[in-house]
Each structure stands twice: as C-alpha cells, then as structure tokens.
Amino acid sequence: MARIKYESLNDGFGFYFLMAFLGAIILGALGATWYMEHEGHIVTGMTNQIVWGMPHVFAIFLIVAASGALNVASVGSVFGRVPYKPMARLSGLLAISLLVGGLAVLVLDLGRPDRLIVAMTKYNFKSIFAWNIFLYIGFLLIVAAYLFVQMNRGTESWTKPVGILAFVWRLALTTGTGSIFGWLVARQAYDAAVMAPLFIAMSLSFGMAFFLLVLIATYSWSRRPLGAELVNRLAKLLGIFIAVVLYFTAVQHLTNLYAAEHGGIERFILMDGGIYTQLFWGGQVLLGGLLPMAMVFSGMGKSKFGVVLASFFVILGGLAQIYVIIVGGQAYPLILFPGKEVVSGFYDGVVASYIPSLPEMMLGVGGIALALAITLLGMTVLRFIPASLADNETGSG
C-alpha cells in the first residue's frame, strides 16, 4: 500500500451551500426547542403515558450509530486490516459528530435543559443514566485522543493501544445505552439482558450504514477516487452486521415468546400492535434488514448507488426499530395486576396513543444535521480524508 496522503475539503461553494442547508435545519431545531421549552411539553406528542418520544428515537439512534461509526477505525487499528486504516480518521470524526448530535437532542428535550450543569455535577451512581454520562464524555475524549495520535507526527505508534481502548469503550458505551432499557424492571417490553448485545449489534449496523453514506457522498461530491472493491468490502461488512441485528432481534422475541408472562407484549409487537407491528415487520425486518442484506450480498453491493440505497434503508429500518423499542414499549400498558384487567380514568389497561408533533421531529432531524455539519466542518478545516481511496492505493484490489 502506498503512503496515504491526507487532505482537507475545499471550502468552495459546495461547502457553504451544504453548511447553509444544515445550518437552516439546525436553526429550525433550536427554534423548535425554544418553542417546546417556552410552552412546555404540552406542544409535543409526548404525554404522561408516552414519556419518551421522537426526540429520544433520534437521540438514541445517533448515540448508537456513533459508536458504530468507529467500526472502520477499529477494524484497521485493532484488527490490523490494512485497507481500512486510511479511513480511520473519518471514522473517528463521524463517531464524535454523531454522538454530539445525539446528546444535543437528548439534552434539548429535557424538561429543564437549563439545568444541564446539575446533570454534570450531581451524580447518582446507581443510575445507568449517570454511568452513561461518563461513558459519553469518555468516548468523546478517547476518540479525540485517538484522532490526535493518528494525525500528530511522531505519535503514530500510540494508534493501536488508544484504538484498543476506544474499541473497548465503544462496547461499554453501547452496553450502557442498551441497559437504559434492559434494566427497566417495570415494563414488559424491556427488562431483558439481551438489550445490551442487541444495541451493540444495532450500533455496528447503523454506524456502518452512516459511515458508508458519508464516505460515498464525500468522495463523489469532492470528485475523489473511491475504489469499488473497497466499497463492496465495506458493504459486505454491513451485510454481516445487519444479519447480527436480525439474529439478536430473533433471540429477543423468541425468548419472550417462551415465557407466558410476556405473551401480551409479544402479541402486541408482532401481531396486533397496529403501527408498531407494521414498523417491526415492514420497517425493521424487511426494509432495514432482509432487503439491504440481499442488496449488499447481491450484485448491487458492487455499485455505489446500490450500497447508498442499502445504507439508507438500514438507517430507516434502524429508526423504525428504535421507535418500536422506545414508543412501542411504552404504548403497551403496564401490568399492574398480573392476570387481571385494569381500567381507570388515567389510561390504565389501554394502549397509549402517540402522534409526534412537528417541533419534536424538527429537533430530532436537527441532531442529524448537527452531526453532519460537524463532520463537514471537521473535514474542511483538518486533513481527515485521504486524497484517494482507489483500490490500488488502499490495497483492496
């Protein structure tokens, strides 16, 4: 493999146009936040029955994808796969950007975002949420250090040990994110150890899809060579990750189906849950799972357009999966008295309804825009991307 020459993107018209576009979305998200905080969450679709809604779907998606975006760097540094090494910088940058985007959404949806300082200074160490704050901050610092040792002359020898630390940390981070749900004993849809590995699998898949989209878009729009064999190699890795997600999803539901006490929630998600059932089978399994997997392992995996389409489907399916987990898990009524029916004027015993409002959606999409804006800015001011990722340059051919 030839010595890799890294470059920054030109700050030409394309940069300003994209930044203006993303900036407009971010401004819209900030306006939506101001509106929601000023009026209260009454203007959202969230209620006392569905307490976490669309902002959390986007936030969790971005946080999970962030650790997965580091896949390529890990494969290069930790597992020594040479063709992936040139992309490690971009991989790290995208990981940081996605996490910042996700955290921004999470924080701006708080009932009291002005009390962020409280969240940063007062900790209940029995809370997995509090652990996650450390995991997120640690991830940002470690990946920043990982980028530094790669990009700073004379510190390259630290790349592998710091890369291993980043790899272990990302596994911990996604375990922590999955445990936000896995450790909830109250609700039928959660309270399952499989949530941790399921979320790790989801991170591998969603992060890879995001990375592929950003990589292909960057190299196409900046007219830099990107090898078809390299893209195909990454796409096949995405296909494997999709299969892993499907596997853990199957384990999750089969385990629940075996226990009679979980029959209700499984019936709800898999059979008669309306939008949640449709999103599970149509969105998560078909659009986000089987279809892109078939695409990347077929001839379409050899075309960049096919890979872009498959990655896009994985992201849509991922959002559907997280929607089903977060909103579907709350929509199914709490079991107060097992074996008995419960009714009240406070919606006990009934499936809760949830209609996301426009401000919530704007906040969530704003998180994606923020992540992309940070990535774009980073690639423009620093040398994150190789001048060429042609197959003969990376050794993929």
Binding site: G111, A119, A130, Q330, L336, V342, D348
Partner: protein
Amino acid sequence: MTDLVENEGGGCCSANNGTTSGTTSGTGSALAGSSGCGSAGGGCGCASQDAMPQTRRGFMKAGAALAMTTLAPGVTLYSFGAGQAEAKPADQAVTSKVRWGMLIDASKCDDGCTKCVTACSTENGWSDTGNPLTDAQWIRKVTVRDRDQGKETTLPMMCLHCAEPPCVDVCPTGASFKRADGIVLVNKHTCIGCRYCMMACPYKARSFIHEPLEDQKEYSPRGKGTVESCTLCVHRVDEGRLPACVETCNASAGGAMTFGDLNDPNSEISQRMAKFVTTEVRADLGLNTGVRYQNI
C-alpha cells in the same frame, strides 16, 4: 357531601366551595397542634346541609367522622393508634426509626367515590386542566377485574413509596430520593426533567408537568418541566397530621385508608397487617412497597 378538605389559610370555612369543615393549623407536636377552629366539641359546624344523615345511627357515624376531622391533629392521630404518627420538630432530622406506610382496604373503597383524589388535588394544587393525557395525576381510582369470574374491585393507586424504589435507582442526578422515613420524593431543584423515573415506575405513579403553572401551594412546590408524584403529604406528616386522602376517606368516605408507622408493631397499621392478609402491587418485583392493599 362534598369533600372535607384542609383550609390552607387556617381560618374556618374559608376554603373551597364553602363546604369545608373545621381546620387544623398543624404546627408543633401532634398533641399540641390543636389551634384553628377545630375542637373536640364538634368543630365549627359548617358541614353542608346535604351531608346531614337521616337516621340516628347515621348521625352518630357522621358526627364521629366530623369530630375526627376537626379534632386537633395529635388527638386525631392518636385515635388511629398509639405511636402512629408524631410531629417531627423542624430542627430534627428525619429518622429511619419510623417508616410511614398506608394500608388500603379495597372492600371499603366505593366504586364511584373519588374523594381521596379530590382531597389530594385540592391539598397539593394539581388539577384537571382539560388535557387528560398530560395532566398530573398524583392519585387515581383504578378498577381491577378478574378475567374469569369478572369480580371487580376498586382502589386508589398512587406512589407506593417503595423501600427499593426504581425511580430513585434510575434518577441520574439523585433528584428522586427516599427519605429516611420511607417517603419517596422529588427534589424540585435538581430534577432535570429526563423522565427516566417515569419509565422506571411500575405503577405509573409519576407525572411530568407539561404546562406552565400558576397558584401553587407554598408547601407543595411544582414546576414546569419537572416530574412529581404523591408526597404522602409530607408537609402534613411532618406536622403530625394525616395525608389529605386518608383524612378525607376516614372522615367522609368508606374509611378504607389506614396511615401509620410500619416500624411500630403497636401502630394500627402494623396490627392490621399482622391480622389480615395484605397485598403488595407487583410483589414479584420485590420493591417492598410502603402502601399495601387488603381485600383485592
């Protein structure tokens, strides 16, 4: 009969709907707090006309209930069982020597009665704003129906003040906390409004405040963007008084609620729990709830 509610200002008959019974100021120790217009001699006699019973026995029962409400708080509590509740001097820390709890006899809880809900709402200042999906609901009436036999039981459901509260475990800032005496509360100064406690509560006992608030009670602070739930009327308990729901249920409804110290074997609640089979909601979760049920 309308609810018997506490008069916030301490004056007699000035509270809501003009149908309030006598009041208690509730300062000082339980046995010393007999100020206000309430007296053992029958209160201020301002119960509404439609509350007057038609029979001699009914009159006696209602009179006893009325006297119960209007008695000095210490005397009232004393009548529920020795050692059940004692006022905590303001300069003394809360102690784990007591564990406040409640026993609710579902067989005495009438299907259509919501007096405990109204009493809580009036006492703590939360109310129906016409948005049932987002309105706070500190206490609610729940109907439990047997799937096979169809037998129905109604009961009030609120924060059950668990010994092992999941809401406290998951709160990232520690805003959700349990006092030494077992009362589970939210520190309104450090709640960031993440709602993770609402996700974690098995009883749907917590509410998020979705709208700006006005006219709050000074002893029951609330705030937009934070989470809240039943405080077990901690402001009253610390003064040696009963929670508003218990007081009202005993005074003007079925008398289904018993409040007291679960750590004191001589308290009425402990003695009842020793005598009757009681139920913890979702006992399988092992949360050791402070609120228990009977005859479900």
